[in-house]
């Protein structure tokens, strides 16, 4: 099995692991970490496909690689935005719960 196929299959597993964490972890920060694992799985798969596209003396197809750099930066921006939302959620409600029902004495004040 070639190196790029090893990592392509690994990437598929990473997407699955991230998806599992995204569903079962109740804390939003843990969901964010799981979502990032899932995202990096997609990146690694894309990177393995770029390596398969080696041609014209280049060790890998530079177009998907350049898009990967863009993707990593945008993923960071989205993560920063999510962390900010989360910190504000906890500051204003004192809870990190994402469930919709609230304790009875809280209803009406929020």
């Amino acid at each position: 099995m070639s190196v790029e196929m090893v990592f392509a299959v690994t990437a598929c597993a990473l997407v699955g692991i991230g998806l599992y964490g995204l569903i079962v972890q109740p804390h939003p920060l843990r969901k964010l970490v799981a979502f990032n694992v899932m995202g990096t799985g997609v990146f690694v798969l894309f990177g393995a496909l770029a390596r398969r596209g080696a041609a014209a003396g280049m060790p890998a197809d530079p177009v998907p690689q350049a898009l990967l750099i863009t993707a990593i930066v945008v993923a960071f921006a989205a993560t920063a935005m999510t962390v900010a939302l989360l910190v504000r959620l906890i500051e204003s409600t004192d809870s990190a719960s994402l469930t919709s029902e609230q304790p009875a004495d809280d209803v009406g004040t929020k």
């Binding site: 990473l14 964490g21 990096t40 596209g53 041609a55 930066v73 989360l86 990190a96």
Partner: protein, 312 residues
Amino acid sequence: MTPVVSLVVALLLLALAVWSVVVRDAFLAVAGFVAYGLLLSLVWVRLFGLDVALTEAAIGGGLTGALLLGAVARLRGTESKAWAERSGIVLRTVAKALALGVTAVLVLCVLALPEPAPTLAPQVAANMDATGVGNPITGVLLAFRSLDTMLEAIVLVIALIGIWSLSPEGVWGGRPGLRHHADPDGVLAYLARLLPPIGIVVGLYVFWAGADHPGGKFQGATILAAMWLLVQMAGLADAPRTDSRWLRAGVVAGPLLFIVVGLLGLWTAGAFLGYPPQWAKPMIIAIEVGLLPTLVLVLALLLNGVPARSGR
């Protein structure tokens, strides 16, 4: 020998991914994720993506790690309550089945990939001379797919505006986060005095080398932003007020310059973001140099977070 190394890296990567998803303690999960990000850069090296490896180490491992570690520290105390809400055995079994199913379908797709693989490398190689730069990744980012890079710079600014809009009432335009205090004679303050001069040189080198070698503005900007954040964390300088004019001008300058160069292309080369042949390299350098300060500011400010104190 080579496949064995890749196999070990892949297994370690999977183990760290499982760890950061299932371990109970959020801090341990984030610590695992930081190690995972650094290991990922090794994967990029093995996949011959040195530019991607540098970006992953700087942004994926470094900045995202720092961001998540900061978040864990502020979210302590909400963990045990959330843990009590964790999914029951039925949902966990269903989630496992779903995750396995998705992985299986993806693996089947990977095994069914066409041979030979489609590639744009020959087109890039044929047109590299027209751009005047030697690193094909830089060529793609700033010539062939420069629209993507422009939109990316704009996305960063929009994310920053989004974070600033979350500021509580009364502190709009204030300074983000808490003021850091560290022992002025401690190791952190010492490093914050020692490292920035070196870091600035390294950051600018990585930025400048990006034209012909692995590196570029994102990697360089991350190193420069990290130096600024280090000085802030050691308490030697405060985070900037988000309503300061120079700051806001700096944040929009890069994308604005990019758009101006794009419009110039409309006039000189007949297409938005087109470069007249003999002017390609100077225009690419102009965009890179214009974008660097914006990226340093935005990356550091994204990490600084929501304005939280008026700080007058």
